[in-house]
Structures are given as C-alpha cells and as structure tokens.
C-alpha cells in the first residue's frame, strides 16, 4: 500500500516537476552554460574556457558584489528592526486595525516599483516637494537628499517593507501566549522572553522575511539608479551592462551565476536552520 501511495505521489507531482524543469531549471542551465563560454560568444556550443569567471576577479566586479551584499545586508537589518514592533502589534495587539494596515501596505504593491521610486525622487530632490516647500516658506533650502548610499538603503527598505512585514507577522503569530506567560511566571525578564521565547518561536517567519528581503535587495537595481544616482554600482547593474552595451553574454551569465550561487548558499543555510513547514501551518509529525 505504501509503495502504491508513493507511486501516486510521484505521479501527481510529475506535472509540476516537469513545469519546474522546463521553466525554472532550463533557463538556469542555459545561463550556467553561457557563463563558461569564451568572451562575446553568442553560441552555447563553443569550447568552454571559463574566462568570464577569471575576469570577475581581474576587473573589479567584486567591488560591485560587495556593494550589492552590503546594501542588501544593511537594508535587511533595518527592515527587521523596523518591522518587528509593527508585526508584533499586528499579530498580537491590533485587531481590526491589522486589516487596515495590511490593505494599506498591499495597495502600495499595486503601483509599479519604478513609479513609486520616481515619486520619492520628486519628493526628495532639490526643488522637490520637501526642499521646494521649505525654501518657499522659509527662504532657506538645502542640497537635495539624493545620490548617496543612505538614500539607496532607504529605497530598499521602502520597497521591500511588505516582504519582511508579513512573514514576520506570520512568525510572531505562532508564539503561544501561554508560553510567554509561563516564562514571565517563572521570573524571566522582558529581554529573556524576547531572546529565549519569542525570537526562537518566530524563527521560521524571521528566516522567510529575512531571506526574501535579502535576496530581492541583492538583485535590486532601480533604487541605486533612481535614488542613488549610481553613487555605487551594484552587481545587477554590471549584469545589465554586460548583456546590453557590453554584448558579452558569457560575462553577464558568469556575474549572474556568482550572485545566484552566493544567494543560494545563504538561502540553503537559512532554511536548514528552521522548520519552514511550521509557518505553513503543517507541522511535521
């Protein structure tokens, strides 16, 4: 009976597996093969020479990688610190108000990221909404707030806010109130409850939120382009240049593979630390 069940399970999974193979694995495979082709090759059948990988180290692309990871890391930490109290309140304290906040945050996703960032550009630029109004009413203005690293981080935090908030809320919802009360009854301090009860129990939500925010921010481009004025060049920018103006698909593919491998390693490490099934409401027996 078990064997039959297994066979049925494999059969039912077959369509989605085939779909994943065709639409998810195949493009990755093509990128992987392109990445080992000779420079400027547009064919997948040339003799592999791995030259693009050596170029990454010779031509300073590690600097762009560094910036991508630093920006992603900083924005993820800020997002976590910002979202934790709000997610906590949404999961534990607010009742109907949670729905209002949820709708407000989700509605912002209906507008394209570029348009939202352009809104911030018009708000923050010299002569924009803030500086322009200030200068109009006080006679004193200031240099615009754009084109620096902090504003890129601000952009990332703004754009990826929902991707941290909702998983975190889900994670916090899994903390049983009884467990917290028991800890307090046994004399635990607020700090101890946070560190030893709340954070470990909300870990699946924290991991999902952190991974989503980090992965998306590491591949983000619009924030550094629009708000940051490309003060720093991120790896996604180099990938775009290699595929377009550089017309060097192997180099673009190698840079993509580098980012994919780093992010995959971080994701596998993160996921292996927690039981993701719990957040899906399907505790493993």
């Amino acid at each position: 009976m078990d064997r039959l069940n297994k066979r049925i399970a494999y059969l039912s999974a077959a369509p989605i597996l085939i779909l994943l193979l065709v639409f998810f694995v195949a493009p990755l495979l093509v990128i992987g093969i392109y990445s080992i082709m000779p420079q400027k090759s547009f064919s997948l059948l040339a003799m592999p020479d791995f030259s693009s990988y050596s170029l990454i180290f010779v031509e300073g692309y590690l600097k762009s990688l560094f910036w991508s990871l630093v920006l992603a890391f900083s924005s993820t930490v800020i997002l976590f610190l910002l979202c934790w109290p709000l997610a906590y309140a949404m999961a534990k304290i607010f009742n109907r108000f949670t729905l209002i906040i949820t709708i407000a945050v989700v509605v912002s996703l209906f507008v394209s990221e570029n348009i939202r960032l352009f809104g911030w550009l018009l708000t923050l630029m010299k002569g924009g909404l803030i500086e322009g109004l200030l200068r109009h009413y006080t006679g004193n203005g200031f240099e615009g707030a754009l084109y620096n690293v902090p504003i890129i981080i601000f952009g990332l935090v703004y754009v990826y806010f929902p991707f941290m908030l909702f998983p975190l809320m889900q994670g916090i919802a899994m903390i049983a109130e009884d467990t917290r009360q028991a800890a307090f009854d046994l004399g635990a301090t607020r700090w101890q409850v946070l560190r030893e009860i709340e954070l470990p129990l909300a870990a699946p939500g924290i991991v999902v939120g952190t991974l989503l925010s980090f992965v998306l921010a590491a591949g983000a481009l619009a924030e550094s382009k629009l708000l940051g004025g490309q003060t720093v060049i991120v790896l996604a920018d180099d990938i775009e240049t290699a595929f377009t103006y550089g017309q060097n698909w192997p180099l673009g593919s190698a840079l993509s593979m580098l980012l994919i491998m780093i992010i995959a390693t971080i994701a596998v490490f993160g996921i292996s630390r927690v039981d993701i099934d719990t957040i899906m409401g399907r505790k493993r027996s």
């Binding site: 031509e59 382009k225 629009l226 103006y245």
Partner: protein, 376 residues
C-alpha cells in the same frame, strides 16, 4: 452528456496534436502581418493606424525597445522569425546586424529615390545606409546631434560651445554635472574629451589616456542615471548645471514643456578634423526573417509620407528632427514651438560640427576601462 475515458483520451490527443502542429503549420503559411521592433515613435497609433487602414487584412504590431543592444539581443536570441523590421541606431546595423546575417538588403530600385527628398546630409550615396558591398541596409529617418546638455541660465551656450568637452574637466564643474549613462555614447564622448578619435583603434598609450579621462569625468560627476527624465529634472531643479552625453533627443521633451534653458550643445571644435560633436541616425532595416512579411517594405515606403514623418518625429517621449525635413510639405507640418524644441535654429550648423556615429574599433577595451571607472 457523459464522456467516456476513451472519448476523453481522444480529445486530449487531438488538442496536443493541434498544439504541436500549430507552430510547424504557421511556418508554411503566408504572412500577411508585420512585426516592428523599434525605438518609441513607430509604435504609436498616429503611425500605425493609417497603415492598418491601408492593409485591412493584415496584423500590424510594433514593440518599442529601451536600448539598441536590448533589441539586437532579441534577434540574437532567435527572434528573427518573429520580427520583420528593426529600427536601431547606426552603427549597429552596419557593424553587427548585417555582417551577422540578422538583417537583409533592401530593394535599391524602390528605395534609393527617397534619398533625393532628404536633407543634404543624407543625399545618396549616404554611406551609413550602405554596407561595404554597396547593399542598401536600411532607411534613415530620425537623427540628432548628441553631445552634451547644459542649463543656459548657469552656463551660457557660447561658453559651453567654446569650452566643448573640456567643460567637464574644469575643476569649477566638479560636483555640478551628471552623467547620462548611455554607455556606448559615453565611451565615444570620453574619448573626444581626451582629444582622442574614438573611431580609430587605440594603442596602449591611447587606452591609458582614455582611462585618465574616464576617471576624471566619473570622479567629478554628482549623479549618474540612464533615465533622461530624471536627468532633465535634476538640471531644471538646479541639482546639476550640465549633463555629459545628451542632445536634442534628451533636451527636446524639457524644451517643449517650456524649459528653453535646457539646451543641447555641440562643441565648436574637437579632435577629429576639428569636429567634436557626434550625430546619431536611426536606420530601419529589414529583418532576415525566414518567413518574410509581405508588407514590410510597404511600411518603409509608407513612413516617407509627410504626415507620417511628422508623427514619427513628434511621437510621445522624445522629439527629433527627421531626414525628410528637406521636403517643404514635411517642414510645414511643424509649428514654431516644435521647431524650437528640436533646436532647428542651430541644427544645420550643429550637424556641420558633428561626426557620424560609427563603429568604435577599440570598443571592447574601452567599455572595460569605462565600466571599471564607473564602479570606482
């Protein structure tokens, strides 16, 4: 009604067979359709609707690209069997598309006479529309000088034209300009800033000079963006006083909106035969589609009509002169504000002072140096 398992299986087999046969079948069907891959303008209703009326049974579609290489990548990725016309800047057609067999020659008997109605710069034999063997590889229409842009309230036109590219090496300009990162253009312009000819191969010393120029220009820039609207906003609001790489194409939307202090500048002098500006010209070419459209060449002929020339020149987004403006019927369709937006007052002299956008032989080395300087 009940369906038996056998009937169901038959239905599935038929559907699968029809799906598989679809693409194969269409390969042998006559194609009364037209797919155009173009810069913004050719995809507007003003341009396409009258053509659709002229060809009632045909399906006419156009998609606008965001950069030349993006569009070329589509053909390289195997979409030659999708597109019938491609509209890109020189020198992509001459340097890459034609040698790689992605586009094919036009019928010279049909199209060469149209060059007689164009501005003097485009009179036949117009070298940029021809391949080395004399084949006609595309029809020119929109064009424009493309060097840099200033806010004339801060830097006068005369000063900018006299200083030319050296404006961006002036210590007083540090932190006062942006770079519009149209990378292939920046490469040409940086070479010209360093008194080099980008259209000739560079030796090691030349590459070193280019590196110094690229470092200096990136080092002094306040901002970088590839968005011309963001760049014009920064110029109008005083974040910057000039931007490196720009022309009538980028300045015209701001000028038509009333910001006539945004002005595209062509240097008075430069290192290549005394010229320092560069001009772009779009070519619309016939894609080497294995199953060609029956109406692709008709469309190329259709866009030579005066009212369509005007629609292409003043499509949404950016405004540009067209080579057919030598024809009084075309010229009469533009009002004074529109002519001012495309800087018609100085267009001819700017063209005189500009080099044609050609193949950059050392592009591979230069783009590497450029990209490194951009990252640093």
């Amino acid at each position: 009604m009940t369906i038996s398992r056998r009937q169901f299986n038959k239905g599935v087999a038929f559907t699968a067979g029809a799906t598989l046969a679809g693409p194969i079948g269409s390969a042998f069907a006559a194609r009364n359709e037209l797919n155009i891959l173009c810069w913004e303008g050719y995809n507007t209703d003003e341009v396409l609707s009258p053509f659709r009326k002229l060809n009632p049974g045909a399906t006419v579609r156009a998609e606008s690209g965001t950069s030349d290489p993006d569009m070329i990548n589509k053909l390289r990725a195997g979409e030659t069997n999708v597109w019938d016309l491609i509209n890109v800047n020189q020198p992509w057609a001459q340097g890459q598309l034609y040698p790689e067999g992605l586009i094919k020659p036009l019928n010279k008997d049909r199209f060469m006479p149209y060059f007689d109605q164009m501005l003097p710069e485009f009179k036949a034999p117009y070298p940029l529309a021809l391949a080395g063997n004399g084949d006609l590889i595309g029809m020119p229409q929109r064009y424009g000088p493309f060097s840099f842009v200033v806010n004339t309230d801060k830097i006068s036109r005369a000063t900018a034209e006299d200083q030319g590219w050296k404006l961006f090496l002036d210590p007083k300009m540090k932190g006062r300009y942006g770079i519009l990162t149209y990378d292939n253009w920046n490469v040409m312009h940086m070479a010209l800033t360093g008194d080099q000819n980008p259209f000739e191969p560079m030796d090691a010393a030349g590459l070193e000079t280019f590196k110094k120029t690229a470092d200096a220009i990136f080092g002094g820039a306040k901002m970088l963006t590839d968005d011309l609207v963001a760049m014009n906003l920064a110029l109008i609001n005083g974040e910057i006083d000039a931007y490196f790489t720009g022309g009538t194409y980028t300045a015209s939307p701001a000028r038509l909106d009333g910001a006539s202090n945004v002005r595209a500048i062509t240097p008075n002098s430069g290192p290549v035969g005394g010229k320092g500006g560069v001009v772009w010209v779009e070519l619309t070419s016939l894609v080497n589609n294995p199953n060609p459209s029956t109406i692709a060449e008709d469309f190329l002929e259709y866009v030579q009509k005066p009212e369509i020339c005007k629609a292409v020149a003043f499509a949404e987004g950016t405004y540009n002169p067209v080579s057919q403006m030598a024809n009084p019927k075309v010229m009469s369709l533009f009002d004074s504000d529109e002519l001012d937006a495309i800087q018609m007052d100085s267009l001819a002299e700017e063209m005189e002072r500009s080099l044609d956008y050609q193949i950059v032989p050392s592009y591979d080395e230069l783009i590497k140096i450029y990209s490194e300087a951009k990252r640093s």
